[in-house]
């Protein structure tokens, strides 16, 4: 899922300083799962904004709403009914949601309530770890399902680098060396020879090296 983190409240307050009617808009997609922008976080941020503005002597009316998703135009349709009540929107969706609101409703003052961080997994309660960089050209079929682009500090395609010790990364001691893990796993499977194949330099264009990435499926698109 996309992992996000709430922005510092003073930054949010600065963005909405000129308004006295605000919508805090959550998303029940990834940001709800990573506890950054679901119903509960909407309620918390809205209450924090009310409290902070009350203390500043500039009370604000804050509406709370959470959509199923903010990354599909049809799910943003109900926003039309809410917009007349407010002067600005703080979206707790990932950057995709904020961008789509800005695209669909150019006159709306929309501000991000979270920083969109990475694609990760919820490995334990309250902890999320990056697992994928979204580089658009997967090589994990060759690496026992473990991604060296996201999980190797040096993004090595032909690892390990030789600096890891005891299975730990030399750049980040708190991080396991993914190439150590790949080798151990392939060895267990008797597939270590797969690593004899040298992976050529990566084509970074699918990773965004050519600007905006667009995917079109002719069998679906009109």
């Amino acid at each position: 899922m996309i992992i996000a983190e709430r922005r510092p409240i003073p930054e949010i307050l600065e963005n909405i300083a000129g308004y006295d009617k605000l919508l805090v808009l959550g998303c029940r997609g990834c940001v709800a799962i990573c506890s950054a922008g679901g119903d509960r976080e909407v309620a918390i941020l809205a209450e924090a904004i009310r409290l902070a503005r009350q203390r500043q002597g500039k009370p604000i009316e804050v509406f709370e709403e959470t959509f199923i998703r903010q990354c599909d135009p049809e799910y943003l349709e109900p926003l039309k009914e809410l917009l007349p009540k407010v002067q600005a929107v703080v979206s707790l969706a990932c950057g995709v949601g904020v961008n789509l609101i800005a695209d669909l409703y150019p006159s709306v003052r929309v501000y991000p309530g979270v920083d969109t961080s990475f694609y990760g997994a919820n490995v334990e309660l309250g902890k999320w770890v990056e697992k994928c960089r979204g580089c658009g050209d997967c090589i994990i079929d060759k690496t026992a399902g473990l991604c060296p682009i996201a999980r190797c500090a040096k993004n090595l395609l032909n690892g390990p680098c030789g600096g890891s010790q005891g299975g730990r990364c030399e750049v980040r001691k708190d991080m396991p060396c993914v190439w150590h893990m790949i080798i151990e796993r392939l060895k267990e499977r008797g597939e270590l020879e797969r690593l004899l194949e040298i992976v050529p330099p990566k084509d970074w264009r699918p990773a965004g090296g050519e600007g905006l990435r667009v995917r079109v499926r002719p069998d679906l698109a009109y």
Partner: protein, 134 residues
Amino acid sequence: MKLVILCCNYTNLSEREDLYEIEGDLKIKRFPCGGHIEITDILRAFREGAEGVCVCVCEKGTCHNEKGNERAEKKVLGAKMILQEIGIEPERVSFFYVPRLDAEAFVEDLKTFYRKLRSGDLLADTTTNKEKEK
């Protein structure tokens, strides 16, 4: 001074009269479990004029819902982080594990917190006598 107590219903049933030594406006709000106390409850108490909020839950290992009390502790931490961001001293929120139905410990913890708030020294040592004994 307004002090709000957010408390698990099973932790303690003390009422206002049991806390007569605490002057000022005292509001006790009970929840079915400490795990039901939300960050928004703490923030709302401040918006409604509280100068201090005290969250009291059952001692570890005695929660009817296993971890509701520990969840409350995490919520208090979350609330403190937000309060700090918006310029309110996080020490204005206090959290106590209280022996179930032991009114003495409950009242003692509240009095200690109240004294700290009233003195204005929010960083004062709030360790209760009971904790010191441990």
